[in-house]
């Protein structure tokens, strides 16, 4: 990157509120041509809102956007694309059944004549091949393939090629490596280097700090809707960024309590995760919280689902307090006292259009059946639900409220209440704090402490390393379906966890 290159994009004092909720409180940011500018911040810091303003999805309330020295208004996504801003979303916007070149020209197909014309396939193919070649790919080979048959990495490249075809000057990439394998990530890095040589600027959003070191030129840290600071990547360290990102020391954020370790309460032997070459075994003692770290796709969710009997035909043995239990379905797991708090609470945890008491008791209705007529005792159901809601401080006026109307953090508490209600003893949390605000996170952590203190087994999958380091007593690291490291927290660092997670 040339140091003196002019700012391609400059934004000043961007503000955005949703009704009374101020999300962006005055953001300044400048992006130079040919640089990779990383946006760093916790969930809820305002990154997505900022991106949506830059792509014309949301109108800004206040502030200026200056493009190549001229103030511009972005009223809709088309405006942004015409300026030369393209976005690669986490969820790719392609059509799986269409071919690569058809995707690249989706919505702006080129015709042979003005009216009553066939589309000009030859021209579109040639253009697509050119764009793909510019990214260092074999365009001729790719161009006629169905996008759905490509790997995630290549699908992403098709999106980037589309940006090239649109003559994008600035490409925004929203956590582009989160769903890629190690090889694919390396390929993306190479493509990014090529893009930089073409003087394309990149705004890169990521939570992986080591990645910033590898490809970033500058990093801007956002926190609670403020722009905290822009730093050069070369001369600063990840620790500096974390401090700015969190804005307080880790101890406040993670209310870790240490308990005395007891007997081995939970043991898993030889569970095969789909696609893995080796089975997985591990055990958890009373008094400890065990974390499972790893990249997306490492098989962590698959492992807990296999334990829980959610995916049929998993081999292996599971012991609670030394006694083997047979699990063929989630029902068996629940009866044995296992709870799985799934990552996707809306799709796998809640009935959004049912009241809270319905949600909280749905996994344990058999405990509420009146002997006489086999009917449910709705009074006790309500009372129990109310107790859990008070205990977990779910913010609601009534258990009659439908789950849809709660915030993410409160919805998560309702899901946890559902499992407390089953009298579970083993709690497996899958990304328990994803998408919930900092305050609610701390409450979830406290609850984990209480669970451990009350003599339960707690297992937590998390992709946020600070959370693992802050709350766990031991870290299991997974890569490609197997456990590659078992590290006591005293010895765990971001580096050795990442090493084990990437299989280096």
């Amino acid at each position: 990157m040339t140091v003196n290159s002019a700012d391609l994009l400059e934004i000043r004092g961007i503000k955005k509120s949703f009704d009374t909720n101020v999300v962006l409180k005055g953001i300044d940011l400048s992006v130079k041509t040919g640089e990779v500018h990383v946006l760093l911040g916790e969930n809820g810091a305002g990154k997505s809102t900022l991106i949506k303003i830059l792509t014309g999805v949301y109108p800004k309330d206040d502030g200026e956007i200056i493009w190549n020295g001229n103030p511009v208004e972005l009223n809709n996504p088309q405006d942004a694309i015409h300026l030369g801003i393209s976005t690669i979303y986490q969820e790719l916007n392609n059509i799986q059944q269409l071919k690569v070149y058809e995707n690249i020209f989706l919505g702006r197909e080129v015709n042979k004549r003005r009216i009553l014309s066939y589309i000009n396939k030859k021209f579109m193919r040639n253009e697509a091949v050119r764009c793909l070649n510019e990214l260092g790919q074999n365009g001729n080979e790719l161009v006629n393939m169905e996008v759905g048959k490509l790997g995630m990495g290549q699908q992403q490249l098709v999106e980037i090629a589309k940006a090239i075809a649109l003559d994008a000057k600035l490409i925004i990439m929203d956590e582009p490596t989160s769903s890629l394998s190690g090889k694919e990530v390396e390929q993306l890095y190479k493509v990014i280097d090529l893009l930089k040589q073409r003087n394309v600027a990149i705004i890169f959003i990521t939570h992986k700090l080591e990645e910033i070191k590898r490809i970033g030129d500058r990093v801007t840290i956002l926190r609670d809707g403020y722009m905290i600071k822009t730093l050069p990547v070369k001369t600063t360290e990840p620790d500096d960024w974390i401090e700015l990102m969190v804005g307080r020391s880790l101890s406040e954020k993670y209310p870790k309590q240490k308990f005395k370790y007891g007997n081995e309460g939970f043991r898993v032997e030889n569970i095969m995760v789909e696609g893995a070459t080796e089975p997985v075994s591990f055990s958890i003692h009373y008094g400890e919280i065990v974390g499972i770290a790893g990249l997306v796709g490492a098989g962590r969710t698959e492992l807990v689902r296999a334990i829980f009997g959610a995916d049929p035909k998993s081999k292996g043995k599971i012991y609670i307090d030394g006694k083997e239990i047979t699990i063929k379905s989630p029902k068996d797991a629940i009866n044995a006292g296992i709870a799985l708090i799934t990552e996707d609470r809306k799709n796998e945890g809640l009935l959004l259009d049912q009241p809270l008491d319905f949600n909280i008791t749905m996994a344990s209705l058999r405990n509420y059946i009146n002997k006489k007529f086999r009917l449910l005792n709705s009074k006790i159901i309500k009372k129990d639900a109310e107790n859990y809601i008070n205990e977990l401080q779910v913010k609601t006026d009534s258990v009659d409220l439908h789950a849809r109307f709660l915030s993410g953090g409160n919805q998560q508490k309702v899901v946890i209440a559902k499992w407390l209600c089953t009298n579970a003893k083993v709690f497996m949390f899958d990304e328990p704090t994803r998408g919930i605000d900092v305050g609610a996170k701390v409450e979830v952590y406290r609850l984990m402490n209480e669970l451990v203190e009350a003599g339960n087994i707690v297992l937590m999958i998390s992709s946020e390393l600070p959370e693992i380091l802050g709350m766990c007593d031991r870290v299991l690291v997974m890569n490609e379906g197997k456990i590659t490291a078992n590290i006591p927290i005293e010895e765990a660092t971001q580096e050795n966890i990442m090493k084990a997670a990437t299989g280096v």
């Binding site: 999300v23 945890g349 009935l351 209705l365 609601t396 709660l406």
Partner: protein, 337 residues
Amino acid sequence: MSQVLEQKTVEETKVFKQSQLSLKKYLSKFGTLLALFLLFVFFSLSSEKFLTVDNLMNIVNQASINALLSLGMLLAILTAGIDLSVGSMLALSSMLMAVVTVNIGMHPILGIITSLGVGGLFGLVNGLLLTKLHLPHPFISTMGTQFIGRGLALIVTGAAPIAGLPLLIQFFGTAEIGPIPFSFLLVLVVYIFMHIFLSNTKTGRHIYAVGGNKEAARLSGINVDRVLITVYTISGLMAGLAGIIMSGRVNSAFPLAGLQYETDAIAAVIIGGASFFGGVGTVWGTAIGVMIIAVLRNGLNLLNMSADLQMAVIGAVIIGAVYVDVLRQRKRKKNKN
């Protein structure tokens, strides 16, 4: 981002006190009741014959078949499914009942058991096809069995109806207690049972859970397959019961009975506020939906509207009712954002 929005929703909903929320709920509940009431007023004013005991009893009598089929349909729709085979199940179960009692000459009780048994078994097959063959949607499986059932009903006698049913079976269709048709009272009892079943039993709640979120239900230890099989079996039983009443009423079983009755049942359930996406709907709402269709048909008949035009009017009512629901949903979403 969405998190921020959600947070705001809590604040908003907190402003609504619970009483207001349930008031809203009751308004949406009574919205369809209001429509039914307006229909009553309209037809009472436009036809002298409408608001007579005879005619009202005629309406509930006519409604009883659709009322039973709609209950089965409600269960299917609650699980985000559908049962297109209700009409065929009605025909097949009543034909076999007639064969057993008239052609073979067995006791009418056995005939009744046959009808319910055939319906239930047929429904069970629907459930098994859906859960064990993993067909993508019950629209497919029940469309298939709709044809199969109708074909079998025709094959039984080579398309001929069977007349002269035993008195006990006729009783189901024609008996009256005072001015009230027995079939209506029977339907009333079934509705009360179904209401209790759906709202106050474990299986009932599991039906809502499966329809509301299949994966969440499964991960909460609910045996989704068993719930679905139960639902389609009950739908078959309802069709079997409807078959008894229908053939009892006309004192014969005929193989084309119940042809296209699934459309009225679907209409009643949807007008009654159930969601095609599953998890939302009540017995109470379905009862009103059934009555709206029955009153419409009866009233339009009294106004001498041709059957062809009636069809168009009822079609318009279905679209209108669902559109009102769409508007309500959209408003709710708007409030949320």
